[in-house]
């Protein structure tokens, strides 16, 4: 099972109660991993309202995860 590094930003960080973690998961895609985490932390945001970055690049939600990947879920951005 892949070991994934996660960073949480904005409301995800507050809802998870942490800014980062390393997690061993049987989720094989970014989408499945978010579902798993949402079940655990009760994230309010649906994945449809977010994007996902893997190893600091935007990637499709169905991207297959590999051991050591850095995964960051991107809530709707509000810069500027």
């Amino acid at each position: 099972m892949p070991r994934i590094d996660l960073e949480y930003f904005a409301q995800l960080g507050e809802e998870a109660g942490r800014r980062h973690e390393t997690r061993v998961t049987d989720a094989t895609t970014a989408a499945a991993l978010y579902d798993e985490l949402r079940g655990e932390y009760g994230f309010s945001l649906a994945s449809e309202r977010m994007r996902v970055a893997i190893n600091t690049a935007f990637r499709p939600w169905n991207e297959t995860l590999a051991d050591g990947d850095v995964v960051v879920f991107i809530p709707p951005v509000t810069g500027g």
Binding site: E7, Q11, S44, A57, V72, I74, P76, V77, T78, G80
Partner: protein
């Protein structure tokens, strides 16, 4: 991405080339109110490595799309108070039309795509993460977007 105030005059000087006849700058300032609530200040959080590559991609796109000489953008992170500069964009170009259009393009894309999040602190002690309705990164947003606070007391 800057965790502390940046000297804007130095950023402008990077654009000040002898071939440039027009210069357009945009600054986003922290306003005293948002959606009718009095704002005391705010904090920006960013996913910095992605913000840097995405910011560079936006500047590269501006160079491809418009006849500009140079473009620079800065976004603050951390705590800001009313009146502080949250975002700064400067574009120089041989002619003004390209300078205006590229500057507008860059701020619109920053607002739509840059992984930066704003938490507002209100005068009543409350705070909330602001969330925008636009589907990020997909359209060329020519308006201001519709922003709403998602309340987390």
């Amino acid at each position: 991405m800057a965790a502390a105030p940046v000297g804007l005059e130095a950023l402008r000087e990077e654009l000040h080339l002898a071939r440039a006849g027009g210069y357009c700058a945009f600054e986003g300032w922290v306003r005293e109110t948002n959606e009718g609530r009095e704002v005391r200040g705010l904090a920006y959080e960013s996913y910095e490595p992605l913000a840097l590559t995405e910011g560079q991609a936006i500047l590269d796109e501006a160079h491809e799309r418009f006849e500009i000489s140079e473009a620079v953008a800065m976004h603050r992170t951390g705590s800001l108070k009313v009146g502080d500069v949250a975002v700064w964009i400067g574009v120089s170009a041989p002619h003004r039309d390209a300078a205006f259009r590229a500057c507008r393009y860059i701020i619109d894309q920053i607002k739509a795509r840059l992984p930066v999040w704003k938490k507002e602190h209100y005068c009543d002690g409350d705070t909330q993460w602001v969330a925008c309705h636009h589907t990020h990164g997909l359209e060329e947003n020519s308006g201001d977007g519709e922003c709403h606070g998602h309340h987390h007391p």
